[in-house]
Subunit: 443 residues, 2 copies
Amino acid sequence: MQPIKIDLLINSRWIIPVVPEDSVFENCALAIDQKSIVGIYPQAEAATRFAPASVVDLADHILMPGLVNAHGHAAMSLLRGFADDLPPESWLEEHIWPAESRFLSEKFVRDGTALAIAEMIKTGTTCFADMYFFAEDAAEQIRISGIRSQIGFTVFDFPTAGGKDADDYIHKGLQLRDLYKDNDLIKIACAPHAPYTVGDATLRRIATFANELDMAVHIHCHETAKEVSDSLHLYSCRPLQRLDDLGILLPQTQLVHMTQMDDQDIKLVKDNNCHVVHCPESNMKLASGFCPVAKLLDAGINVAIGTDGAASNNDLDLFGELKTAALLAKVVSGNAAALNAHQAIRMATISGAKALGWQDQIGSLEAGKSADIIAVEINSLSQKPLYNPASQLVYTNSGSQVTHSWVAGRALMSDRQLLTLNEEKLMRMADEWRDQISPDPQP
Amino acid sequence: MQPIKIDLLINSRWIIPVVPEDSVFENCALAIDQKSIVGIYPQAEAATRFAPASVVDLADHILMPGLVNAHGHAAMSLLRGFADDLPPESWLEEHIWPAESRFLSEKFVRDGTALAIAEMIKTGTTCFADMYFFAEDAAEQIRISGIRSQIGFTVFDFPTAGGKDADDYIHKGLQLRDLYKDNDLIKIACAPHAPYTVGDATLRRIATFANELDMAVHIHCHETAKEVSDSLHLYSCRPLQRLDDLGILLPQTQLVHMTQMDDQDIKLVKDNNCHVVHCPESNMKLASGFCPVAKLLDAGINVAIGTDGAASNNDLDLFGELKTAALLAKVVSGNAAALNAHQAIRMATISGAKALGWQDQIGSLEAGKSADIIAVEINSLSQKPLYNPASQLVYTNSGSQVTHSWVAGRALMSDRQLLTLNEEKLMRMADEWRDQISPDPQP
């Protein structure tokens, strides 16, 4: 039999395909052609079956689906470490908002988004959900970089640098959606900022558009106890109940944070088939509270994971986030078996894909899916001895071990070198923003 | 004036001396002579004042005191990732103890301790508190490596591979103490395993020795809620109260874990001037509970930090532990200002030094102190822009950024290369143990 011509064959020591669940293949190869996954084969079989245009050999690596960072504000990477160790109100009102009102611009968004994408590619993310201003400028950087993204256009009921009023935000967002409707790697979602910053009328309109256009809704929700108590005071119900009453709890709704959840909240999320996006490090750093991840998984709710913006994390390393999530789920639930290594890996891959409505394309290494793939080198001193690759990946790993990244078959990083972005130029650019935003760094 | 001859001058972009508190010096130099710190000077002044035998230039680095890892079981690095995501009883009784009973030996301790030391040096630790078996074999590896250590000889009231009974454990430990009494870098401490594994008579004897010999006591305490409720059932008091009644809460007592603390516990620790060693990742991974770090600091209690053994962490990276501690303290106390970056750095340096009774020697870069120093490169994409070096060190950093390490002026690592240990040999040795302990790794 003639060998089948394909674009790329990757031989890897281990492959964690995510589907089937809990499996780790050893000494296998992943075949890729025309942007898509052909299949996984024993290396000896792959060597005779295929005639690949190129071959990558990974002797000490885990090959796995690219990570899905399901919540962040990419451009805020320019405010990384700008204001730390502060109560949330002071952080936001006295530091972040004043800095944004002075410096936020199209260029800020282009530069900050490019910096964030570079960090995300380097640490294993191949798809991210963004929520910020000047979405069209973010989209342009995303397109150039080759990463996959759900871009949420933020909606408020008041003016900001990004828009005049709800009408203006929504109008621009829907225009952007039209512009990118044929792009396979970019989806535009509607991102009402939060229940407490968007009124009933606007939320109802968004629900209508989301239903008609089958558009995802991405919203901060139940981030803090204060948000819940304020809502009880103003609306006589919890924010989630209000969202339900307004018809915005849809199967394509992504509820970000959810640190305050009672049994009725869990039932509402479950009954409406919404997705929860867990941001453990941001929730810890801002002292927001604990998302009850183990309970949500037990209830059958889809839970994805996000880093949030670098201003409240302070990095975009989803492997670090994954370790934190796995550790936190155990101590919060009081069960050391909660969120095991494979569950944590699923949260950062297939569950993220589901949350963004992309589960047919990404999140696992299955034949026919898009070739969104990363390789992670598991060969450092601190990963020895190696009994269990999945455990090592979650508990001893960090994004700095990621060596290769592909999105839809296109290589975005090879041997730790970015291929679509200029790392040195981005670092110089970040230094320039630092000089402009804070000419006298505080020790 | 003639330049003063010194052994070493280190020019560094930033220096965080820890004392004085909250300070960051920029473009300064640290002078070292005869194993000790001479002082910190502006680089231009240092260049004329000193005639150093060697100079190290660190353009993008933070120079700071070496980290103190105040609790661990070094040799257990050979069981890293051997049994994860299990309830504590099953983890210990069905996996760790059976593995130890099969494989624990002098060689296991020598090899595992060497592996752990290599990982600790590489990630910034220059001093660690150990608690395990075959302390004399651990001590030998510690001596060879050049790292600083408090070696706790473990005491149980029952036989293990490490001893027959309490008398035997104590006798061997005191012999070891004699052997190392003139070694500046090694202290021997008494480490009764826990209140629930050591009886009253033995704890009283240990209190006597600790008082007479001014020897530190290192003990697991209030690790889990079950430990406290069992003690209430058996002794009609909480474990900490029992330790106080037995006279073992001394100014040189290091209480490890302390996840279960009521106001009376806090008062007891404070009144007795004991030290608490916080192990956040182990407490999370084993679902043990939350140590109330912010409350302890508010009460004026000295809190150090430890990784615990690699079997329950799963790495020995104290910078990662530090980030987790800073994030966890905020969400547990409900205060985003709790355990700020400088406080976290102190916890891993001067507070660790205090806990081990070594505050006159290490923990800060003060003139006259031992030259126990590390350099951390702060120049990666994920650390840009850089507004605040201390914040970057805690929130965006990991041990993989550590480049240099000195203990008592002796270089243990230079440009990420270990100088006293053979990294490749250690990695091969770890692979051999993996093959022996678990010939068929579980996926």
